[in-house]
Amino acid sequence: MTLFASQIVDGLADGAIYASLALALVFSYRSTGIVNFAQGEMAMLSAYLVWQLMAWGLPLIPAVLVSIVVSFIAGTLLYASIVKPLSHASLLTVVSVLIGLYLALNSLAGFIWTYTIKPLPSLFPKAHLQFGSFSVSAETAGIIVVVGLVLLLLYLLFETTKVGLAMRGAASTPDSAVLVGVSVPVMLLIGWGIAAALGALSGILVAPRVFLNPTMMFGVIIYAFAAATLGGFDSIVGAVVGGLLVGVVENLVGTYVPWIGPDLKIIVALVLIFGTLLIKPDGLFGRKKVVRL
């Protein structure tokens, strides 16, 4: 029973990381209709940036904050330099460019920091929290709390502020957003910035568990895709629920299905993606595309 419960909690922590990267995917997709295949690699660079800043003498927490701010700016630059100019290009062009960006960022990290793994310290102490007979590592609890707080901030941004409302309007019906005086490009720019910052968070949370290396986000981005697909690619709630579900299912299957074990866990993600697309292509929370004539 304790093993089961701790697998669930560990799954929620993994799921929280997937959820933040899935949210990054959903944010860019909702605002511009583009799936950013390079999101994981951008997150990897964000994690490397933390390592680099620490190597230059900055303490961990300031390094993390600087990296998240730089990532936000990088996200806005990506939108302004690549995504916006391609807004009328064909889907194939956009996909090719983003996959090219994926490879370029991956090689860039290898070029600057080499392919040797590097340790990135965890944001949380190596302690265990004891609740009766049930114990949970401070890292697991910390990840859940940090992602939870970030989600709360995002919720407040979108539900209670004017800018948040304008961002939702711009993503929903850009033509009408212009007619109420909203600058749509600025809103999309902010959206891509937030996506990159969320991705950075996922990279920084996952790096201490898998060590820094240029391919560290490969598994995470697959799980994030599974989460976003399961939740419905245009749903923010869906990305969060999808992320948590994927994390829990992945952990349970890895623990209780002997022939899968930790090595084949990624199959779980692929089965989830495939199954969702087969049975419910819009995902759990996705909107069916209905056009009123």
Binding site: L165, A166, T173, V178, L179, V180
Partner: protein, 236 residues
Amino acid sequence: MSLLSLRQIRAGYDARSVLHDIELDVEERQIQVVLGANGAGKTTLLRAISGTIARQGTIMFGGMPIDRLSARKIVAAGIAHVPQGRGTFADLTVDENIRLGAYLRTVAEARQDRERWLTFFPRLRERLSQQAGSLSGGEQQMLAITRALMLRPRLLLLDEPSLGLAPIITQGLFRTLAAIREETGMTMLIVEQSANLALEVADSGVVLESGQIVLRDSAQSLAGNDEVRRIYLGYE
């Protein structure tokens, strides 16, 4: 001086020009209607005014040239455009749609105005927390108009408000528009294909044909004009 005047306006899409040398004046506190068949250029005319398409010529609004301003600047100058097909934010709630209409204004002003406009459209008050996409066509049109009014515009552009609505709904809508003008003195430029109801509330009108204004008169005379009656009002 007219609130809005257009001189030698030309506009179109890419290489295809739709409007040719349009001259039009809209007087303050008046409702002016633009009649015309499908493809006559009615929608293009409103888009040229609101800056959502490229246009050449001179457009003066309240004594200020606006023909080189972007759509956003024109909104800020006080022209609200209710586009054809309403253009409500389908994913947002009715209340959020209304609040977004007041994006350029303060929260306090928005709260005050919201109450005022909801008295004209009580149906919307019952549906404030509902998603805009789930409203009926008539309610969506009310919402689109309310959202535009939230800007506190000096000029309201309405593109075929009757589109897809039952005649009884359209009639109610035009009565509300007339009541709003009566109470607030709001200037309106309404594009319509089904003209009878529009002419009932309008002061004056023009007829647009192949991108040119071929007739301009008071609403009363237009409603009595044989040609207009035959083509746009459906009388034989």
